[in-house]
Symmetry: C2
Subunit: 232 residues, 2 copies
Amino acid sequence: MEVDYSNIKVIGFDADDTLWVNETYFRQAEEEFASLLDGYETKNKIDQELFKMEIKNLHLYGYGIKGFTLSMVESAMDLSNNNVPQKVINQILDIGKRMITQPVELLNGIEEVLENLQSKYRLIVLTKGDLLDQERKVERSGLEKYFHHVEVLSDKKEKNYQNLLEHLEIKESEFLMIGNSLKSDVLPLVNIGAKAVHVPFHTTWEHEKVKEGEDNGDYLKLNSIKDILNYL
Amino acid sequence: MEVDYSNIKVIGFDADDTLWVNETYFRQAEEEFASLLDGYETKNKIDQELFKMEIKNLHLYGYGIKGFTLSMVESAMDLSNNNVPQKVINQILDIGKRMITQPVELLNGIEEVLENLQSKYRLIVLTKGDLLDQERKVERSGLEKYFHHVEVLSDKKEKNYQNLLEHLEIKESEFLMIGNSLKSDVLPLVNIGAKAVHVPFHTTWEHEKVKEGEDNGDYLKLNSIKDILNYL
């Protein structure tokens, strides 16, 4: 694919599943949740109901571990008809706490890429989720030194990106976003006239999946984030 | 008090209990929580244990309604020795959801102050808590039009303010913060050489209280936010 990145001044990096592992921990939490509720419903039904609960509560809780934990608690009540033992509620709270304190595991090649790009571009972290949680992960990751700053957005829709670029006082054509979610990190950028690079992670949350046909627009897809150094 | 605000270019407004009512809803929630747990412990003990739980979890959950709700759930387990009926857990989740969707009630004089200052200064909202929750309150409040933008900080310590001012590219001496919390909105600003105005709210969360003797430094205290118009 022919790409011209000569105008780019600022590069936004998605954090979860772009800089470090994240979705894997949610998948593990869902597995554990299903084990805790084993006996009330089939694993398949438990998975489905938890996902439905998350989506139902998304407009209230937004993204992140705290909202996910609250949805697990509510879902445990629903799935068991309020019969789940109280100690299971404690175990659910513990799953959430463990996720929050999980060590940060960097994805392959990230440091090399950031090291290489930091002198040529203004690099920012651009993520959604819990503010405190994301700030803490940046700190623990040891990657803080490469970034100008961290922006946590309540959502990653076109409007959120437009507001951000206005706030940062940069033009759409000068901005490049790199991330693992087509829906959140790539398509909204393409739609507002910015550039985007898609680096898929092996697991994608159901809610972030894009339907066939929605994926129109020009962007660069790379199998490894390291390959970006061939373009920038 | 003699004050010189001639250098000021940017004014930061705290949100909760400065622009609109907030703490009152937490107090109501605590009352309801105590009623739900009535019989397991005295009201006084329930209040104390919930507060302890919030502080214990603060480093994990940060500020905001979601963390508060998770702490209520955990506290209900503890206070009842895991005997609390499951439907009470549902009622606790409902308290949290109701708080999130609570209508925004502006404090007296706020619109007049913002209307008056918006042409002379760059006004920003500077708050801690859940990002989504705070953005939503700004939107619902109808005050969005007065503000350049909203900054949600994970905490309001000196370091957070310093990072922010650096990010906004303004000098300490050009910044004035207005808020109801001495601990979060006033003293850290005074300590880094910025200006601050204290407008107390009738209720202060225990955690935000300042001990005798910690309150040194120069700042302006006003009984009503409208009085700021006499100085700016």
